[in-house]
């Protein structure tokens, strides 16, 4: 085991600032895997949030610990509802005949009409949400606020526990990118057709969303006391859209949000699902040493390391198929390769998106152990 000379927080901040660390930090995205390890059914999880939080804490110890918690509480409860569009109907394991073996899924349905673009443009995002969320969820604004407050209380209580253990939390707020919010609300095919049929209107709506998104995230990070925002990106990548579209519609909004965050002392964790390889050069236009580029095993992470060298920390990307189907040796081999190529500085070892619910425990443990035991750059 490598002799550690830094606290987890110092290690993570060194990675963010591209400074030398004592070893590569490791932060897995763990939620459902932990509760599965403790055989908590989805029903119990819903009835007793604290049992799940306890499972995550025990899982943390059984994995030998790691250097950062993605969030306090469960999953993403701290995000105010306005920064996360309802994405169709949530289908839980055990519901609609879906096996308990599966994780939570979303039956993506159109929840926003073409006319709603005008409402966003004319009223702004937050004012639109006051009509939109009750319409889609069937809940009153008061009830939505009450639930959000309940989740924030859980977050704050759990955050105290992790603070006592000196484990930093790297999401004090969550925002889903403007384009992904609309894509989830309209569905991906429909949003794509909207871009084709009414590009000016979609662009105006995207631009109108930004000021409220910034205000919402600043309020959330203040409430959580954690100066980090998780920005969920997926639907705008080069896997979906050409760079001309990215430059005109998506990147300007991301840049405005990130710049505003950095101006307010907030660090940005860019969670980039799907293939962003083509878009990587744009990230060099975001503030240096204030953001993390977190890829999910589909983007070429080694290319990300090359393109962002000296500018941005890279985080990733042990593939879910490897932690589920691979051997322990294969996991170690892949983690060592990541550390060899990317790990000298500015790298955080992470699962490729979330650790799969059905990953092999020994493989996840091997990922943590490799970070603790392997650092050839000292």
């Amino acid at each position: 085991m490598i002799k550690e000379t830094m606290t987890p927080e110092q290690r993570v901040m060194a990675a963010l600032r591209l400074e030398r660390y004592d070893r590569v930090p490791v932060i897995p995205i763990i939620g459902q895997f932990a509760t599965r390890q403790y055989k908590l059914s989805r029903k119990i999880k819903d009835l007793d949030t604290w049992q799940s939080i306890e499972a995550i804490r025990e899982n943390f110890d059984s994995l030998g610990g790691y250097d950062g918690k993605i969030v306090a509480g469960l999953a993403w409860p701290i995000s105010t509802w306005r920064t996360n569009a309802p994405k169709g109907k949530r289908v839980l394991p055990g519901e609609k005949g879906i096996s308990e073996e599966f994780s939570v899924q979303y039956d993506e349905q159109t929840t926003m009409t073409v006319e709603d673009y005008d409402k966003i443009i004319n009223k702004g995002w937050n004012a639109f949400c006051e009509e939109y969320f009750p319409r889609v969820t069937g809940l009153s604004l008061e009830e939505i606020e009450r639930r959000n407050k309940e989740l924030l209380d859980i977050y704050l209580k759990d955050a105290v526990y992790w603070k006592q253990r000196n484990i930093p939390i790297i999401a004090g707020a969550l925002v889903v990118s403007c384009e992904m919010t609309l894509s989830l609300a309209r569905t991906f095919p429909q949003f794509t057709m909207d871009l084709h049929r009414m590009p000016d209107k979609v662009q105006a709506a995207l631009e109108a969303m930004v000021p409220d998104f910034i205000d919402n995230v600043l309020r959330d990070t203040k409430a959580s006391g954690v100066p980090w925002v998780h920005i969920s990106l997926e639907r705008g990548s080069g896997a979906y859209y050409n760079l001309k579209t990215y430059e005109r519609f998506f990147f300007p909004q991301l840049k405005k949000i990130v710049d505003a965050m950095v101006d307010n002392g907030i660090y940005c964790w860019l969670h980039m699902d799907t293939d962003w390889t083509l878009n990587l050069p744009y990230l060099r236009h975001l503030p240096a040493k204030k953001c993390i580029c977190n890829t999910d095993s589909i983007t070429d992470i080694f290319k990300a390391g090359e393109v962002l060298k000296g500018h941005m920390c890279v985080m990733g990307d042990v593939p879910p198929s490897l932690t589920k189907l691979g051997t322990k040796d294969e996991v170690v081999q892949y983690c060592e390769k990541l550390i060899d190529v990317l790990g000298k500085e500015g790298f955080i070892l992470c699962s490729g998106c979330e650790v799969p619910i059905d990953a092999r425990f020994e493989n996840v443990r091997a990922m943590m152990d490799t970070a603790r035991n392997y650092y050839p750059h000292r």
Binding site: G97, S99, P189, H196, Y240, Y241, P319, L322, L325, A359
Partner: protein, 209 residues
């Protein structure tokens, strides 16, 4: 390329609708119109391969094609048409993600395959039954979550048990599907790219015809 093929390849939605109306109005047979549309879809595929088009252009071309088919379909049956390779496709048991599967199904129809889309959360038996019923020679299974790997494997095993495995080629697809998953499930091919999936199926079809 004809004007109609070009209009589809260039994603000119209104122009495609207008030309189809004109051509059918002047007595052109619907099979001939469909052939032009398929040439347009082929060109979309070529542009995707060259990196000029992205997934979004596949979606737009697919939507234009689907709308065109709504106009053509009522008359197509009368015109008949040659035998097409049959593909059974679906998102496997337990998984309800449909976007990738829907795109592949539309693209396959666009280039002339006879597609039996079983939808999402498709039981193992439904895949087997549909292959028996249609005598399809290709099965496409989609899934986005790791537990769906087991559903894919169970489906391949069931095809074996039914004595169909050597009569069908199986391709699996999804964002997290890798070679490791292909080996685990016993499929013949894997892809995380809709158009690549269509190309693999086209090659299989060309070999068997």
């Amino acid at each position: 390329m004809s004007e109609l093929s070009s209009a589809l390849a260039n994603l000119e939605e209104e122009k495609v609708a207008r030309i189809i109306k004109q051509e059918l109005g002047t007595g052109k047979d619907s099979m001939g119109v469909l052939t032009e549309l398929r040439k347009g879809m082929d060109e979309v595929g070529q542009r995707y391969k060259k990196g000029e088009y992205f997934l979004s252009e596949l979606i737009v071309s697919g939507e234009i094609f689907k709308d065109a088919m709504k106009v053509l379909e009522p008359t197509l049956k009368k015109d008949g048409g040659g035998p097409a390779t049959k593909v059974v496709i679906g998102t496997v048991k337990g998984d309800i993600h449909n976007i990738g599967k829907d795109i592949v199904a539309t693209l396959l129809k666009g280039v002339g395959f006879e597609v039996y889309d079983l939808g999402i959360d498709v039981p193992v038996k439904a895949f087997v039954d549909k292959v028996v019923e249609t005598k399809a020679t290709i099965v496409g299974m989609s899934g986005l979550l790791t537990p769906s790997f087991e559903s894919m494997k169970e489906t391949v095993d069931a095809l074996k048990e039914a004595g169909l495995r050597n009569k069908v080629k199986v391709i699996i697809g999804g964002g997290v599907v890798t070679e490791l998953v292909q080996r685990h499930t016993g499929a013949d091919a894997f892809t995380d790219d809709a158009m690549e999936g269509v190309e693999i199926i086209k090659k299989w079809s060309a070999k068997s015809n």
